[in-house]
């Protein structure tokens, strides 16, 4: 800012603080709630200061879960979610970068046609095609399996499209230089295109991981075996399962734990992301 207006600064900060407060407050409440003993919430008053039961609540959800209500300990569910999110992310990234490579760098019949077919699927979210997809997965015997959890969600028009846009900005001379240097298409892809795409891959990794981690409807549909429950649907089962009042303190502890991996991914990837941004140049 050129102008150094004191009151302007204060006002701007007030607005920003207010905005952050609105966003952070629910998260704060969740964290606070996970530290109180059972029964606090039944009274109908939300405490705003940490309680004393944090250790107990967290050890309960991690080691026991709510076995009586059919919810396993969350360690297993976290692991399932992690496997599913990683499978979706890595699958999406590899398939879309390869198809973008094919579309941009190879001249084959109906190239544009295939591109538009991929692009069209952008307009169909998972929910729209969920019934036929379920039928296919069921017929293939992939219910209650990691394959069933991840494979139907792997195809990604968005990532293909983004990679295509990125590849088109890579100067053609780089490819030609590589050809003169004796690098075939695959070598060019591995030695030049992939390293140049690192930032894009990091950014998409974050987005895709969160997408995969937060999958709710699909796992709910195709898993009936608690061994394959994911954490996000686990939370839902915790709230609705059982005869008693929802045990909010445990639910909130689970919520906090479920939010951790995406946060970690963002923190870790952000470093790579920024590093990539500052060190790469086309």
């Amino acid at each position: 800012m050129v102008e150094n207006n004191r009151w302007g600064n204060i006002f701007a900060h007030l607005v920003l603080i207010l905005g952050v407060a609105i966003v952070v407050f629910p998260v704060y409440v969740a964290i606070i709630a996970s530290t109180h003993p059972p029964g606090t919430f039944v009274r109908g008053v939300m405490p705003l200061w940490p309680g004393t039961n944090a250790w107990e609540n967290y050890t309960t959800v991690i080691t026991e879960g709510r076995s009586r209500a059919g919810t396993p300990p969350i360690g297993g569910m976290m692991w399932n979610s992690f496997i599913m999110a990683m499978a979706i992310t890595i699958g999406k990234l590899s398939i879309s970068i390869i198809s973008a490579f094919a579309i941009v760098y190879f001249r084959f019949p109906f190239r544009i046609f295939f591109f538009w077919i991929i692009f069209l699927t952008l307009m169909l979210p998972v929910e729209v095609r969920i019934v036929p997809t379920f039928q296919v997965v069921a017929d293939l015997g992939m219910l209650n399996s990691f394959a069933g959890l991840s494979i139907p969600l792997i195809a990604s028009a968005t990532a293909t499209f983004l990679f295509r846009q990125f590849f088109m900005t890579v100067p053609e001379e780089l490819m030609e230089a590589a050809r003169v240097d004796g690098a075939g298409p695959m070598k060019f892809f591995k030695d030049i295109l992939l390293p140049l795409s690192i930032t894009n891959i990091a950014a998409l990794f974050v987005i895709m991981f969160i997408y995969g981690w937060n999958q709710y409807l699909w796992p709910l549909l195709i898993t009936t075996d608690p061994d394959y429950y994911t954490i996000v649907m686990g939370i839902q089962r915790m709230v609705t399962g059982g005869d008693s009042e929802p045990l909010w303190h445990l639910v909130m502890a689970t919520v906090v734990l479920a939010a951790l991996p995406p946060v970690l991914v963002i923190l870790f990837m952000q470093r790579l992301f920024v590093k990539g941004l500052t060190e790469t140049e086309k």
Binding site: E176, A177, R179, V180, D181, K187
Partner: protein
């Protein structure tokens, strides 16, 4: 090291656009050939055909004794320097140089030796661990050259390598490229649209226009005897003045041009060959008034509108003239400085004559070594 032989090369793009139409050219081993022409003349296409980056529609291309029409660029034993350098941005300078060698499975110690050698030759030894983006334009240019050098190819291909540099650096790199090429004695094909670069670099110059060769020759041959009005206008700066025979006859210069071969209806005169003031009896003398004087340091360009014709002509003189804009002037050109052309064919009319060059620029005796 090898010769390059082009025999009736054609390039037709999908859609029927003819980029290169029947080019035949023999490049001798160790020769530096410059392809020059305006944009769209097919010079880059031709170079890329030699490189293997464009397919050859018809004709034969040989590098050495091998027909390379259908070989991949990497198998043609050539190295190319690109206009925008095309360095691999994520690799260090060392790896940029080494990449092509690694792909050829050359032993590590040999790669190391070649890279160090090239780096020393190009004075980029201090930057080997840096990434391209940490280098200046001139240094990147050197790295791009180095990448070609380490390959020790049969031929170097340069695609307007200096056009992204500033003027001063361009001159410096031009000199260095020429010295390097002479020292290594590697056959080179160099594309540029800059006629000065072409004149200074080439052993032989190939002027292209519309996908065909207008003229091939040593720079001084081309400069002294442009084979067509196109070459006359393209090589030499400022461009050659073209005055119609009719105008010359009507304005009393007929006697000086009557000896030109029949079929001549355009007479070319280089700005350097025009002299302000009255000349000898048999010189072409023109009258006009000064429109603009452009001082350019050691020389000045005078723009003159001829009397009785709207045609502007350019005169180049040394130093600064004592001429005001609007002044009436007489200018003359010696008989030997006339270039006769036919307007319709665009060709020179005195080329069939066996008696050698008739038009010799006064200055061009200096430093002809071809």
């Amino acid at each position: 090291m090898a010769s390059i032989t082009m025999d009736d090369l054609h390039k037709v793009y999908a859609g029927g656009v003819q980029a290169v139409t029947g080019i035949s050219l023999d490049i001798e081993d160790g020769e530096m050939i410059v392809l020059v022409g305006p944009s769209g003349c097919g010079k880059s296409t031709l170079l890329r055909m030699v490189a293997g980056l464009e397919t050859i529609s018809s004709g034969t291309l040989k590098i050495g004794d091998r027909v390379v029409n259908n070989l991949e660029p990497a198998d043609r034993d050539i190295a190319m320097v690109f206009q925008n350098y095309a360095l691999y941005p994520h690799m260090t300078v060392y790896n940029n140089l080494a990449y092509g060698l690694k792909n050829r499975r050359i032993p590590k110690s040999e790669i190391e030796r070649r890279v160090r050698e090239a780096a020393e030759m190009l004075e980029i030894g201090a930057f080997l661990d840096r990434k391209p983006r940490q280098l200046s334009g001139g240094q990147r240019q050197r790295v791009a050259m180095g990448r070609a050098l380490v390959r020790e190819p049969a031929a170097f291909l340069f695609d307007e390598p200096l056009s992204n540099l500033d003027a001063k650096l361009r001159v410096q790199m031009r000199v260095e490229i020429r010295q390097l090429q002479k020292r290594l004695g590697t056959t080179s094909l160099y594309v540029t649209h800059d006629q000065l670069e072409a004149l200074t670099l080439a052993d032989r110059l190939v002027v292209l226009n519309g996908g065909v060769i207008e003229q091939v020759g040593t720079p001084m041959d081309v400069y002294r005897k442009p084979a067509s009005t196109f070459v006359a206008g393209f090589i030499g700066s400022p461009a050659m003045n073209m005055i119609s025979m009719d105008y010359l006859r009507e304005n009393g210069a007929g006697g000086a041009v009557d000896h030109l071969p029949s079929g001549t209806d355009l007479v070319g005169m280089r700005p350097d060959d025009l002299v302000v003031g009255a000349g000898p009896e048999d010189a072409v003398t023109l009258k006009g008034h000064v429109v603009l004087v452009e001082p350019a340091g050691a020389e000045s360009h005078i723009y003159v509108d001829l009397t009785g014709s709207k045609q502007p002509i350019t005169v180049r003189i040394a130093g600064l003239p004592e001429l005001a804009e609007g002044a009436e002037v007489q200018i003359h050109a010696l008989r030997e400085a006339l270039h006769p052309y036919n307007r319709e064919t665009g060709r020179r009319t005195d080329t069939d004559a066996a008696h050698g060059p008739t038009s010799v620029s006064r200055r061009s005796h200096v430093g002809i070594t071809s």
